[in-house]
């Protein structure tokens, strides 16, 4: 992959090596504009139908609209705390209207345990429902919170608790009121994980296991984090790119025009890990092939062409000469490299 201003890139592309290069190169485009995953709809129509049912005292219709065990968890998984609060408010209101006081209290308590703010819709419910919700909030606020240690198998995993982003990075300890909560884990290179977790006196830890991200998701993650970043050639960026492009071996070269020359900074990654880095300056990008050769040799993608003494034919001939002259001789020799450095 090549990265840099358009005119410099055009020159670099023309300097790409031909068919005699030791490996086949495929020029790929960086996924700089990969779209982020879509969040679900905000349930506006569902909530409107629930509210209409409540206003018309058709509590069955209201509760039918709000059916679904995962409505609240799904909303919180995408950070939509207001939506989750509205779902629970209308459930509490419609259960209360239908004469199911205990169920209404449970919905109100769930809203309070999740730490959700009372939504503006609270102005549309009856005073007794408003009072029910306020009491639940007061009661939960007076209760102790409990810690839960969260670990994850993905590095630098960001955690969202009950729709609040950046709760912490695993491993870490979260605190919340006793009850069920919604935990979302996101990390580069893995699919997001949403998990219902319980905080309480008997719970102490939870581990979040993840699966590798799809190439499309990895591309979106890379695009969001690295496409316009100076860290584009960092190890985490290359690891993500390798997943996004499904390429176990990739080379990224930054083409940086300077005053009277072009700087080429390259990095090669093998199986997602940085194997070598290199830099060259030249009047234009003509040193690109040389840089690529350096990177591929240092990264052990290709072998340096063998010296004469490393070729079997040489030793066979030598052995033959030695045998003729004075019998046979052992054929072991090590060759060290001594590099002198000077100004």
């Amino acid at each position: 992959m090549l990265r840099g201003p358009p005119t410099a890139l055009a020159t670099a592309r023309s300097a790409l090596p031909g068919d005699d290069f030791p490996v086949q190169l495929q020029l790929l485009e960086l996924p700089a504009n990969a779209p982020p995953p879509r969040a679900p709809l905000l349930l506006e129509e569902t909530l409107a139908a629930a509210r209409k049912g409540y206003v018309n005292a058709d509590f069955s219709a209201c509760l039918a609209a709000l059916e679904g065990e995962s409505l609240v968890a799904d909303a919180l998984a995408f950070g939509q705390r207001g939506t989750a609060a509205r779902v629970l408010l209308w459930r509490a209101a419609c259960h209360a209207g239908a004469g199911r006081g205990e169920v209404a209290r449970r919905s109100a308590r769930e809203l309070a345990v999740l730490g959700l703010e009372l939504p503006p819709d609270v102005g549309s419910v009856t005073p007794d429902v408003e009072s029910l919700l306020a009491r639940a909030v007061r009661e939960v606020a007076a209760l102790p919170t409990y810690p839960l240690r969260v670990t994850a198998d993905a590095p630098s995993a960001d955690l969202m608790l009950d729709g609040r982003p950046n709760a912490c990075s695993a491993p870490c300890t979260l605190e919340a009121a006793e009850g069920q909560h919604v935990l979302r884990m996101e990390a580069d290179g893995v699919e997001p994980v949403v998990k219902r977790v319980r905080f309480g006196p008997k719970e102490s830890a939870v581990h979040v296991a993840s699966t590798a991200a799809s190439p499309a998701l990895a591309a979106a993650q890379w695009s969001a984090r690295y496409a316009r970043s100076v860290e584009v050639d960092s190890a985490p960026s290359l690891k993500l790119l390798a997943t996004a492009l499904r390429s176990p071996r990739l080379v990224l070269v930054n083409v940086e025009p300077e005053r009277e020359q072009t700087r080429l900074r390259g990095v090669v990654a093998v199986d997602g890990e940085v194997a070598a880095r290199g830099e060259r300056v030249s009047p234009s990008a003509v040193q690109l092939e040389g840089l690529l050769r350096d990177l591929l040799v240092e990264g052990k993608v290709v072998e340096r062409p063998p010296a004469l003494w490393q070729r079997p034919a040489f030793w066979i001939a030598l052995g033959g000469v030695a045998a003729i002259a004075a019998g046979t001789t052992a054929l072991v020799a090590t060759r060290r490299v001594r590099t002198g450095v000077s100004f």
């Binding site: 005053r259 350096d294 590099t339 450095v341 000077s342």
Partner: protein, 212 residues
């Protein structure tokens, strides 16, 4: 044929053969890597003006062990060194004494100062740094200081720290495997401002961490 004969003799002598090569350090054709020697302190004074005209300067070359291949930018190196041991290899320190770096330059235009520094560095052309570079990825660092070479020699496999108030400048290379590089090694210094004394202190630090 001479090379074949040389290899043959080496083999028959049953000794370990050595492939000798050489690499040069450069600050760039126009001295563009010398920004780290043109830094000013918080009062606007050039670090180079810390010394008087008759006081000698030393240039210290270190090979900093990285334990891997981090990125080249300052932020990437600092981030890497926060979780890896980035320390100069004591046995490879080379100190060049009596270097004639310019002084009295706080009002000298930047590009004129760059030319003076380039001329001073060119006096070192051909000066050896090491006959046998480390066989691992390292960062080559050059620090200018008012401290003498005797103060900065390694002792008991440990290196004395640079005194921040006596630093004159710094430059460093990208992570490099000197046994395989096939061209000059470029030394530079990432900065977008002339008030870069803090960067020089970080560059010269014993473990490449932020120096406040």
């Amino acid at each position: 044929m001479g090379r074949v004969a040389g290899v043959l003799l080496c083999f028959l002598g049953a000794l370990g053969c050595v492939d000798s090569r050489s690499v040069a350090l450069t600050f760039g054709a126009t001295g563009e890597g010398l920004d780290g020697f043109m830094c000013k302190d918080g009062t606007g004074k050039q670090l180079l003006d810390r010394r008087s005209s008759d006081a000698p300067a030393s240039l210290v070359v270190d090979f900093v062990r990285l334990g891997g291949v981090p990125g080249c930018r300052v932020g990437q190196l600092i981030s890497w060194c926060a979780t890896h041991e980035c320390k100069p290899i004591a046995s490879t320190r080379r100190c060049l004494a009596g270097v004639s770096l310019p002084t009295g330059v706080s009002t000298t235009p930047r590009e004129e100062l760059r030319g003076q520094l380039r001329d001073a560095i060119s006096q070192l052309s051909g000066e050896g740094v090491t006959p046998d570079a480390p066989d691992e990825f390292v960062l080559v660092r050059v620090v200018g200081t008012m401290q003498s070479c005797a103060e900065l020699e390694a002792s008991a496999d440990a290196l004395p720290a640079f005194v921040p108030a006596q630093l004159l400048g710094c430059a460093y290379s990208c992570p490099v495997l000197l046994d395989r590089v096939e061209q000059d090694v470029y030394l530079g210094f990432d900065t977008l401002t002339g008030a870069c004394e803090q960067g020089v202190r970080t560059c010269a630090a014993g473990d490449l961490r932020w120096q406040i």
